[in-house]
Amino acid sequence: ASDADNTVKLQLQWVTQAQFAGYYVALEKGFYEDEGLDVTILPGGPDIAPPQVLAGGGADVMLNWMPSALAAREKGLPVVNIAQPYKTSGLMLTCWKDTGITSPQDFKGKTIGVWFFGNEYPFLSWMSQEGISTEGGADGVTVLKQGFNVDPLIQRQADCISTMTYNEYGQVLDAGVDPDELVTFKYEDQGVATLEDGIYALEENLADPAFKAKMVKFVRGSMKGWKYAEANPDEAADIVLEYDETGAQTEEHQKRMMGEVAKLTAGSNGALDPADYERTVATLLGGGSDPVITKTPEGAYTLEITDEALK
């Protein structure tokens, strides 16, 4: 197991893009190597549940949204947040202005595209907070399981869709839509923001001091990568492009994404703010008829890794 000691496999939750720039920069710039780590980055996709990969032993650490991670915890897969490079949420609903929507109450009777796959929880808690049914009808919203692109909005099959500030929103603009034609609702502003793209590991692994030490090195290297990416967005975007094996990304798109992502990671040194955590848990517990988690989780995060890494 001697060479297992310095290998780390990281499972992303989406395909290679600037959303994960910090990790690719750390890899490319040798920040992991400096820590003595041999890191492999596994891209995700619409059919990959990172917690499942973690459970199967296919990866050592994963990126995940807090609600999904906490739900996994309740399902008996004890994952622990060890770092939180994203400070701010990039999730928002983007609507056509000409639908007359100006506030969440106007969603009634409208059709809204939502990402599922464990990412639907923030939306559901928001709607229950607003007292709007998600079963459709004149007084509720009709929810669609949104696919992986912005077509439903462009084709006007939905009045609003989920977008990330750094990605889908840009795609909507790329389609020639003027920002003035749109109304956006940031989850952050609605008080239902969740902690996105945290770094998680399995609790049982963290009991092993050697693994813990490895994680410290990994988080340290990753944060170095993130800070470098924030400072050099264009170079970071190029690095990401370099690692994209599908060849589907465009430089223009990745540069803009990097710019937007930098805004979200800017406020974080990697350490999870327990206040943010408490707020997220509160939102999720109050999730209406079918809450994501039913009891307050214990030990779902640890500051030990970041404390050590940031020393």
Partner: protein
């Protein structure tokens, strides 16, 4: 060869319809873009146009017809847009480039071929078992049919994860998914083929005192060859689909499946269509190769006379 002219005619008609269809399919987007660029169109306002008839809009705005063939992200790309994309991503790109469809095609092909080989060997072995053991025949067949009613896309991620957990990654899990799809036609065809010798031929073997294995090698196996090839042609196409499905939960890194998916993720319709066509061309090519081998083999074996 006699088919060339009819095929070309049909293809030409399809292209004609396709071009015609582009106008109503893309007219709303084209109008919206034209409007943004400052042109005046018959019915202003994308919202107003949303529920209007596309054909009506197309007829009212002949000026925008040309635009419907040149959108960046059309609802229906025009044939030449797909052709140009195919050309650029196959011929003009270095095949080692990750933007080359040949590169991605090769990734998919290697999983396809491995899966096809596994599925074929597995299918043949299973068929041999079924033909020689009544217990196997009675117990396996109904479940083999049921297995084909399970959507692969649903179990593909689980297969990947399970293999991941025993340390197997990369080509093998994809090939297994592809084998899962191709084994069934092979089993069905081979069982039929191995049972195709007539009672008379089997009796003849008995009058010579042939053992089970002698009957198998000299009679059953050669008799099954035509059936095997028919199955192989179905099987290779199924393998290709399996490999593509298997690419989705492997992190959609490389391969035609990944191309399709990332294309759809970024709304790159032209890229999707060209990957789709590349897949179909690959499938047709693979089937043609097997059909070629089939023709030569069967001719040498004296069938078809």
């Amino acid at each position: 060869m006699r088919n060339v002219f009819p095929v070309l005619t049909v293809v030409a008609v399809i292209f004609g319809i396709w071009y015609l269809a582009c106008v109503p399919m893309n007219i709303k987007t084209a109008l919206t873009e034209a409007e943004r660029a400052g042109a005046t169109v018959s019915t202003p306002g994308a919202r107003e146009r949303r529920d209007m008839s596309a054909i009506g809009l197309a007829l009212a705005n002949p000026a925008q017809w040309r635009d419907t063939f040149a959108l960046k992200k059309p609802r229906l790309p025009a044939p030449h847009q797909v052709a140009v994309e195919l050309w650029q991503t196959t011929v003009e790109k270095k095949i080692t480039s990750k933007r080359s469809l040949v590169f991605h095609g090769w990734i998919t092909l290697s999983a396809t071929l491995l899966g096809f080989a596994m599925g074929t060997v597995g299918g043949i072995l299973l068929a041999v078992g079924i033909v020689h053991s009544r217990a196997m025949d009675m117990s396996v067949m109904p479940w083999a049919i049921a297995s084909q009613t399970i959507p692969v896309l649903a179990i593909a991620p689980m297969i990947i994860v399970v293999f991941n957990s025993i340390g197997v990654q990369g080509l093998i899990p994809k090939a297994i998914i592809s084998a899962y799809l191709s084994f069934f036609p092979v089993v069905v065809g081979m069982v039929k083929g191995l049972r195709s010798p007539s009672a008379m031929q089997l009796d003849q073997m008995r009058t010579w005192g042939a053992s089970k294995s002698q009957s198998f090698w000299t009679l059953r196996l050669p008799s099954s060859v035509p059936y095997l090839f028919t199955s192989l042609k179905v099987g290779i196409a199924a393998s290709l689909l399996g490999a593509i499905v298997g690419e989705l939960p492997t992190g959609a890194i490389r391969g035609l499946g990944a191309r399709l998916l990332t294309g759809s993720y970024y709304g790159q319709t032209i890229q999707i269509w060209s990957a789709l066509f590349a897949t179909a061309i690959l499938a047709a090519g693979l089937v043609a190769v097997i059909a070629g081998i089939e023709r030569v083999t069967l001719k040498r074996m004296g069938y078809g006379k």
